[in-house]
């Protein structure tokens, strides 16, 4: 060690001003900190919060897994409570481990008939233990949904100063005594994931996390009203929390990720300058009870956007604004210079939807688009009514959307925000007129388009809508398209045909059949169906000579969109 120390120090001194030597010195510098004895490097790592410690793992191969050894083993516990385990045994073994530092504590409780007081008591003891070990990354999962609502509760003891990430799934109630820590109860907490948490005082929770950067709420029916996002937040996901009616994020100036999936059209506000990189908008519900213009109006500038997911309801709105609104109303969506990945959630897929997609590509310029994902509906018939009331994925009881009075509130809200932001848009009245116009037009449109598409050469339709040529769709950089739940229906094939003709650089088109054998409906066997499809597909004109079309029954796990979670069921 002494040798190394001596030589490198003297070399360092000799390193002159010349660039080459500087570089050598830099490389040497790396050697020097990495060459410190492991004991010293572990000592440095033990002074870091978990997140920073993990980051050192990416710095170089000599640091790769060192961080995981900074506390005496085991510093990461992944406990599963199966019916055959007694919770006491596990707690005893934990006590034998002692209260040494813990990086991560994960507890999964598998279904079993606990009595409610017992379960609550066990949860309390596990949580107390984890907190006493200054856990930084905490996960609590209940595997059984119904039991969790009935009889689970997490009560955080004071002392959660080190907690950096909290992930809770299927817990009836989450609470803590705010009087202990005031507004810094979770002083280090940066990431919160709550999934199917029945009762949580989100206001208090958020105001007790001064450093929160990521908020991810899924299927939390107990979260109601307005979500107040503080200014440190970088990422907000609110999925299927259908009692949330507003996401107030106008102070989150650094917001990079915003994901919203809801059956109740909540409003939101985001600072116009937020450097949004990924955006997920999935709105559905009884259309058109509420004007949808706010979702466009409340968006920030989208110049940095690289990944976008939008649903067919929103596409419909883009279409209406593009065709009947003033040019200003789509300013933000019109230019997506950095968009690399687009996902369309098609709750329905008929002629109008097809038109909406075409118009989207014509209106919203995304010259860098490389990957396109299309989630098709399960059934080809118009399913908008089904979707509107169907709860997604999780089995929360279907709460009737008590929206009888809400539309009026919404309209008032609309007008208020409209006043603030209307400069670059037309007035609210005009927009609302559009809304009516749109409805009127769409009825006609439907027929119009259906007629159009029955006449096969779709190009005619396009040339009628616009004189411009192929590049106008901006699909020249598209290399990959993937369609999920592809059944080979007429309009699906039309979309395939469109992509094949317009995407001049397309390399791969993946068509994935729905889960379960939908072909049975038609009384055909799979081989016949796929052969039939292949014949059809092979006849389609292709702009890209080496476009490969792959029809498959199973999903390709390695090709997934950034927004791989589709919260709504359709």
């Amino acid at each position: 060690m002494s040798l190394l120390l001596g030589t490198s120090a003297s070399k360092k001194r000799r390193a002159g001003d010349e660039a080459e030597e500087d570089e050598a010195a830099a490389a040497e510098e790396e050697d020097r900190i990495s060459a410190l004895p492991e004991e010293l490097r572990l000592r440095i790592l033990s002074l870091l919060p978990l997140k920073s410690a993990i980051c050192t793992g990416a710095v170089s191969s000599r640091w790769r897994d060192l961080w995981a050894r900074r506390w005496p083993d085991p510093s990461s516990l992944d406990l599963h409570l199966f019916p055959e385990n007694t919770p006491d045994q596990i707690l005893e073994s934990l006590e034998r481990r002692g209260r040494r530092r813990l990086d991560r504590f994960s507890l999964t409780i598998h279904p079993r008939n606990y009595s409610s007081p017992n379960l609550i008591e066990y949860l309390r003891r596990y949580l107390d233990y984890a907190v006493a070990c200054d856990v930084e990354d905490l996960h609590i999962y209940m595997a059984d949904y119904f039991m969790s609502i009935l009889c689970s509760r997490l009560y955080f003891p004071p002392g959660t100063y080190h907690l950096a990430r909290l992930s809770i799934c299927r817990i009836g109630r989450v609470s803590f005594d705010i009087s202990w820590g005031g507004n810094v109860f979770f002083s280090a907490l940066e990431v919160i994931h709550l999934r199917s948490v029945r009762f949580v005082d989100l206001d208090n929770l958020l105001s007790s996390c001064p450093r929160l950067r990521t908020l991810d709420l899924r299927y939390c029916e107990g979260v109601r009203g307005t979500i107040e996002c503080r200014h440190h937040l970088k990422s907000v996901t609110v999925a299927e929390c259908n009692n949330v009616n507003k996401i107030h994020a106008d102070r989150a100036s650094g917001l990079r990720s915003f994901r919203l999936s809801s059956a109740s059209f909540p409003t939101y506000d985001i600072p116009v300058t937020a450097p949004l990189q990924d955006l997920y908008i999935s709105l559905r519900g009884p259309y058109p009870r509420k004007p949808l213009s706010y979702w466009i109006r409340a968006l920030p500038h989208l110049a940095n956007l690289t990944a976008l997911t939008i649903c067919s309801v929103a596409l419909r709105r883009v279409y209406a604004l593009a065709r009947f609104g003033s040019p200003a109303c789509l300013t933000k969506l019109r230019n997506l210079p950095n968009l690399k990945e687009l996902q369309l959630l098609m709750f329905e897929m008929d002629s109008t939807n097809l038109a909406h997609i075409y118009v989207f590509f014509r209106t919203c310029r995304c010259p860098q688009l490389e990957r396109l994902f299309v989630q098709l509906p399960k059934n080809s018939h118009d399913t908008s009514e089904d979707i509107s009331l169907e709860m997604a994925e999780e089995n929360e009881p279907d709460e009737e959307l008590s929206e009888e009075e809400e539309p009026h509130e919404e309209l008032c809200e609309e007008e208020e925000t409209g006043e603030e932001l209307s400069k670059e848009y037309e007035t609210e009245e005009e927009l609302l007129e559009d809304e009516i116009l749109e409805e009127y037009m769409l009825k006609d449109d439907r027929l119009f388009y259906e007629d159009m598409y029955e006449e096969d050469p779709i190009d005619e339709d396009i040339s009628e809508q616009s004189e411009d040529d192929l590049p106008e769709y901006g699909l020249t950089n598209l290399v990959l398209a993937k369609m999920m739940k592809f059944k080979g229906d007429y309009f699906e094939l039309r979309l395939v045909s469109f992509l094949l003709r317009k995407a001049t650089g397309l390399k791969k088109l993946l068509l994935v059949a729905p889960q379960g054998n939908h072909m049975e409906e038609f009384g055909e066997d799979q081989m016949d169906t796929s052969r039939f499809l292949e014949t059809k597909l092979s006849r389609l004109e292709r702009a890209s000579s080496n476009a490969e079309i792959i029809v498959s029954e199973s999903d390709h796990a390695e090709i997934q969109p950034l927004h791989s979670d589709v919260f709504a069921k359709f």
């Binding site: 120390l5 001596g6 830099a26 790396e30 004895p37 010293l40 440095i44 710095v59 990431v191 950067r213």
Partner: protein
Amino acid sequence: MAAPESGDGNNGAARMVTLISSDNTRFEVEAAAASLSQTLQLTILDGGGGGGDGIPLPNVDSATLSKVLEYCIKHAPAAANGGAPNATAVDRAELERFDNEFVNIDQSVLYSLIMAAHNLEIEGLQSLVAKKVADMIKGKSPMEIRRTLGFPDPTPEEQAEMNAHMLEYGWAYE
């Protein structure tokens, strides 16, 4: 770390010891200060380092040693008080100020220092320097850490490894 009570010289004047760096520079310093080093403490207790002998430190060059001794001299009185239970707030604030200033140094010196503190077993100095390095890393992205620590730009392979790690621990990079 508490210095031994016997660290103060037996005769009126403080006992001095001589330390010899790897490049043969001699440093004369009070035994009490040198005894902050657990390694030296034993030798000094045995009566070493006095007179013309000197204690050779082949692991530490003179630049680093002078820095180490600067620390030891400053911290010796407080350490002699056995962890300074009666130290005033002013004294402690002064030490803190000194410490902050002390580690405000070039990185190469910092690494030499952390090694020297480790080899000489000077607990307080080890903590201080480790803390400084940790502060340089804290809250930074891997690329920022690389730059801060003076790593060259990553090669494509290194970049790929970085990305893989970031994927694996996505939440830490959110």
